[in-house]
Symmetry: C2
Subunit: 178 residues, 2 copies
DNA sequence: TGCAATTATATCGGATTGATATATTTTCTT
DNA sequence: AAGAAAATATATCAATCCGATATAATTGCA
């Protein structure tokens, strides 16, 4: 499953320009997948070549045409084939956790601030989700929204209950280094 | 923070070959970061050029030299500089969640199996963590191990309590398509 | 009126993955 | 003890993807 497939997925929800697809990625798929213009625009070009999407271009003066993409029936089949495959393992990269892994090399105060900020940030995400979650049109989207909230909440709870382990560990590291 | 930085981090824990660094990524950093040979070997070459690691090569017959890398003091400073920066946002890619986002296009049975398998897989991870978690040498590593368990457990709980939302939604999709 | 934000397309270098090639040693199974 | 399988070990490559950058009109608002 690559960005091309994801673009097809977004287009099953309605016609869109490259810009709108990017927005959809941020607003509705941000929890599960990221994509940048550098991958979306080439993906749309290739999908067009392959006949999996069609493209209507509206001429505009002094800037590139506005292009609205639609998924074709061939595109729909391709997309279904893709999502029926066994999904690959999650890929997760967290610089936050890496930093904690090396907490013993940093001052305790830095670690404490890092955790404080992480908790705030996760709480902010939960709050913004909570306000929208109930309004979402489908059970499916409410489910995914709730999933995000549950995981973020678990993270906050764990950090609050166990940060002392890390701060004590970092403290020992700092003292040992003196 | 890139793979070069992560290689430096692993080398702060002791000298290692490229192969051993890869193993460390899998065994101790798997929760937070991934790296393949295709990025590790070039990273080590570049770090050697830059003087951030040193390399002792042991000649071997009929295959490439075995190379043991050590971090230099210049490498230690560079690594500290890196982890003192504000960590970038997590990057997460989940084909599983993407599939659920399009659950209405798939048979209910497929969704149910997908969730069943996901729960089993997460439980397997928790079990393998639990057996090792307590043995870990530092509070810091126990903390991170516990973090992983907490998040996986939250996922399992959420899936079990809310899967009906999704299965009902998929069911309606299937019926509508008939 | 002026300034910031949003809309909108597009490219490019550099980072990274996943597959592949190669070959020895160790461990397990029968 | 033979043979199979797994682990050890280095390395490269095409394809993919990200983040930054360039460009420019429009919209909202103070």
């Amino acid at each position: 499953m690559d960005i091309r497939t994801l673009c097809l997925g977004v287009l099953t929800m309605g016609d869109a320009s490259g810009y709108e697809i990017k927005k959809t990625f941020e607003e509705r798929l941000g929890l599960m997948f990221h994509a940048s213009y550098g991958s979306i625009y080439p993906a749309l070009n290739k999908l067009t070549e392959e006949g999996l999407v069609s493209c209507r271009a509206f001429a505009q003066e002094k800037r590139p045409d506005k292009k609205i993409y639609s998924i074709t029936s061939s595109g729909r089949y391709t997309f279904l084939d893709e999502i029926m495959k066994k999904p690959a393992a999650d890929r997760f990269r967290s610089e936050f956790l890496v930093t904690l892994m090396f907490a013993h090399l940093l001052p305790v105060s830095t670690i404490a601030e890092l955790i404080d900020e992480r908790i705030l940030e996760s709480q902010r995400k939960i709050d913004s989700m909570s306000s929208d979650c109930a309004d979402l049109p489908t059970d499916r989207e409410q489910f995914l929204c709730g999933y995000g909230r549950a995981v973020y909440q678990a993270e906050i709870d764990y950090l609050q209950e166990n940060r002392h382990l890390l701060e004590a560990d970092a403290l020992m590291g700092t003292r040992a280094a003196e």
